[in-house]
């Protein structure tokens, strides 16, 4: 089975099969629930810490942007995963709702660019960390414009830096470890990442 997968032409590996769509969507739904819970229970109370420190918690919102593509290895998986997770958290009543679509688009695009540069061929921890940083930059652009427009430059720089650090640690390293743990259970055998 695996030998068959790897000998397929590149074009075949870029096309989304039904199983890719459903698995990314289901993971995104799970992340959407996590988004909602994180926003409602953790983020709201983390506000005590002030925006710079609190920004260290933002990485959780970027997990689908790296975990989904690392599993199915299809173009657009970062964008698709982030957008579905955003829609689900909006349906659940996350108060960021509609705005999550906007930030999800930017975060997904930030990670997608990195995977595109590798031509969807390199799936190692370094790429995971770079994609996470890309997603973090997308998020920082959104948040600095929408949530923290009036702050002084030092404050804005600190928030941007905290968000990117959070992305690298939680999403780049954490997300890669999660995919590795999933692979070890044998659950990813249908996917190119399974071997």
């Amino acid at each position: 089975m695996k030998a068959l997968e790897t000998t397929k032409p590149a074009a075949e590996l870029l096309r989304w099969r039904t199983v890719d769509i459903v698995v990314v969507a289901l993971l995104a739904v799970a992340f959407g629930v996590v988004f909602w819970a994180w926003g409602t229970y953790v983020w709201a109370w983390g506000s005590f810490l002030g925006p710079q420190t609190e920004s260290l918690l933002t990485g959780v919102w970027l997990l689908p942007a790296v975990v989904c593509p690392m599993i199915v290895r299809r173009p657009g998986a970062a964008l698709f995963g982030e957008l579905v997770a955003a829609i689900i958290s909006a349906l659940l009543g996350s108060y960021w709702g509609l705005d999550t679509l906007l930030s999800g688009l930017l975060q997904g695009a930030g990670a997608e660019v990195v995977f595109l540069i590798t031509m969807y061929r390199a799936w190692n921890p370094v790429v995971a960390v770079l994609a996470a940083a890309g997603a973090g930059i997308g998020e920082a652009i959104h948040d600095l414009i929408v949530n923290y427009p009036g702050l002084d430059d030092a404050g804005r720089a600190a928030i941007g830096a905290a968000e990117i650090v959070s992305a690298i640690v939680i999403v780049g390293i954490g997300g890669w470890l999660l995919v590795r743990a999933l692979r070890r259970t044998g659950a990813l055998q249908t996917f190119p990442s399974g071997g």
């Binding site: 989304w16 459903v22 289901l26 909006a90 009543g93 949530n147 923290y148 259970t185």
Partner: protein
């Protein structure tokens, strides 16, 4: 899913329940953009009032459940406002007069007004989200996106299928917890609890992936990936209500932005 809020559904027929989700999405984005482009607090105030009126009169959603639904918002808005005021760049501007002095922190008028604008912005976003997603269910949303915006149907309905099986995850979570307790893996202390949750989460994700694979196989067995051109069971057409909704949203946004106080 007991921890999740029950779905907020319209309890009566109303104007917005007869609009298409795509049209509401456009209208919602117009308000979102309008509330984000300015730091004048009057704009989000006007939009929030408009959103509450629409919610009340035309959304068909039960008003009694709205406050409970928006409760977690209060704290986030408060802290965002306070920190935006405290850390505002306007506070460093010596030409502005000091309104308040808290220890070393100097607060100016423009900082307060910008902070309130940022806080109210979140209120507008939350209310608009209810107006966009509240009046119809995910199925209508998928129908609408496929037929009106030509989103690829495999992605839209594949996602919808995933949404349908998602509630099983709560059952999985409970079963996994019971199985772990049976094996004597009862966590003690906060660190052990976090580790336990991580382990349960991994097993839950594995079982979700397995379920998604079976679902995809079943869908393919019925020709989901046949590549044939599909017809639609529930036809969605853009109607006059959709255009009216978008036009009204633009008009309200224009009034909120440009009419002087």
């Amino acid at each position: 899913m007991s921890v999740l809020p029950a779905a907020l559904q319209p309890t009566r027929d109303a104007f917005l329940t007869r609009t298409t989700p795509a049209a509401r999405l456009v209208a919602g984005v117009v308000w979102l953009v309008a509330s984000v482009v300015t730091l004048d607090p009057i704009v989000p105030v006007r939009l929030a009032v408009a959103a509450i009126v629409v919610l009340w009169l035309w959304s068909g959603l039960p008003m009694r459940r709205i406050p409970g639904r928006l409760a977690p918002l209060g704290f986030a808005v408060l802290s965002l406002t306070v920190f935006s005021i405290l850390l505002s760049s306007a506070n460093g501007d010596r030409t502005l007069s000091t309104v308040a002095q808290i220890g070393p922190a100097r607060i100016t008028g423009p900082a307060i007004s910008a902070g309130i604008a940022v806080g109210l912005r979140v209120v507008v976003i939350a209310l608009t989200t209810l107006l966009v997603f509240g009046p119809s269910d995910p199925t209508r949303m998928a129908d609408s996106l496929v037929q009106q915006w030509h989103v690829p149907d495999r992605f839209a309905y594949g996602t919808l299928a995933a949404v349908r099986v998602a509630p099983f995850m709560a059952g999985d979570w409970a079963t996994i917890g019971a199985a772990r307790r049976l094996r004597g893996l009862a966590p003690r202390g906060p660190v052990a609890r976090v580790r336990e949750a991580g382990g349960r989460l991994l097993v839950m994700l594995v079982s979700s992936i397995r379920r998604a694979e079976r679902l995809a196989l079943a869908m393919d067995a019925r020709g989901f990936d046949s590549g044939l051109r599909r017809t639609h069971f529930r036809e969605v057409r853009t109607g006059w209500r959709d255009w009216l909704t978008i036009a009204a949203a633009i008009a309200v946004a224009a009034v909120a932005l440009f009419v002087p106080r």
